[in-house]
Symmetry: C2
């Protein structure tokens, strides 16, 4: 891509890749833009624009070759050296995040976990080595970590975000119910699972 | 509230409650609208409007009583009979969702899990009884389930959503990377954790 792609474009490419990988695993070899568009919830024209932007070309007759599409999307999305992430907060939420992401993508892995509780330091929890918060700057540098995942209570989330930034992390995925202040060079995204479930429950109650 | 509250309003109320509960647990008894606004990432005027809409009044001198605020928000958000949810898909993601939500809120619980694999039926997994998909309509009715949480692969997500709707579920929280078609009487929300992490990793790589 020439211009820097937007937040939305990167999200779509990530989603396309997962949908395409599932399609490939289920035995298909090619796909039409309108088919991918239907499962991704976007227009076929949008799919074609996005695919052109990563250098993938389809044919009106046979569609796109799925394996080739996945490779083009991967060349755009993935750091060739692999992205290395750190999780902070190894409570119930942190453990479920580790369980979910472990081994999910070869080039994106959570390589270290941090917790304020000294009892967790040195242990391997859900497949990930756990360290004390004090060791964060050292481990982030040694392990070449560029992504931080925050799963601490709201009251400590901002301090953790600042520690991650100070250590050189430039992308933060925040699961804490807090609004974080980060510098202009850091990308930050929030996921609030409790809020989402409460909202669904609320409207389900109204609709039942 | 007189008019039906919006998606955004319900999200904010849910977030306020969690922030307020943490504040109460850390020993505070009262809070000013501007303090709650700062951690929730909204304006103080928005906090005051939202609180007025659930019948909570603060004082310019002493702020809001936190316990009273939590009660007012709960009266708006919570079904007095408690909301009962079903999880569909007891793989890695489903297990992490069960682990995360079990026992989190007294009036919102995942009371049944469903999976296509017969080997899981009858077992208790992460604290939740697991059933076969065929039993979904019967269990949803018996257990008075109004909320469905989808954690199956993309290829089966739409069929699961339709089964949940047919069984009477009116709110769906979807973790599958699929765009679901639901009827106008059903509220549906998506959470795509892999997309979020990939996006953060992408921008972190650009910023590092």
């Amino acid at each position: 891509m020439d211009a820097a792609p937007s937040h939305e474009t990167i999200g779509r490419l990530s989603r396309y890749r997962r949908l395409l990988t599932q399609r490939l695993e289920s035995g298909s070899e090619s796909i039409y833009s309108h088919e991918l568009a239907a499962v991704a919830g976007v227009s076929a024209a949008q799919v074609r624009r996005d695919m052109m932007s990563v250098g993938a070309n389809g044919s009106p007759i046979s569609g796109y070759d799925i394996a080739a599409l996945i490779a083009c999307v991967g060349a755009e999305l993935d750091d060739p050296n692999g992205a290395r992430a750190a999780l902070v907060g190894v409570g119930n939420l942190g453990r479920s995040i580790l369980t979910f992401f472990q081994g999910r993508r070869p080039n994106l892995s959570i390589v270290a976990a941090f917790d304020a509780a000294a009892a967790k330091a040195g242990r391997v929890i859900c497949g990930c080595r756990c360290y004390l918060m004090d060791d964060l700057p050292k481990i982030v540098a040694e392990e070449k970590i560029t992504v931080g995942v925050i799963a601490v209570p709201q009251t400590s989330a901002q301090a953790v975000a600042s520690s991650l930034e100070d250590a050189g992390v430039r992308g933060i995925l925040n699961f804490a119910p807090a609004t974080l202040q980060v510098g202009p060079g850091t990308f930050e995204e929030d996921i609030d699972m409790t809020m989402a479930l409460e909202r669904v429950a609320y409207f389900a109650g109204r609709n039942s």
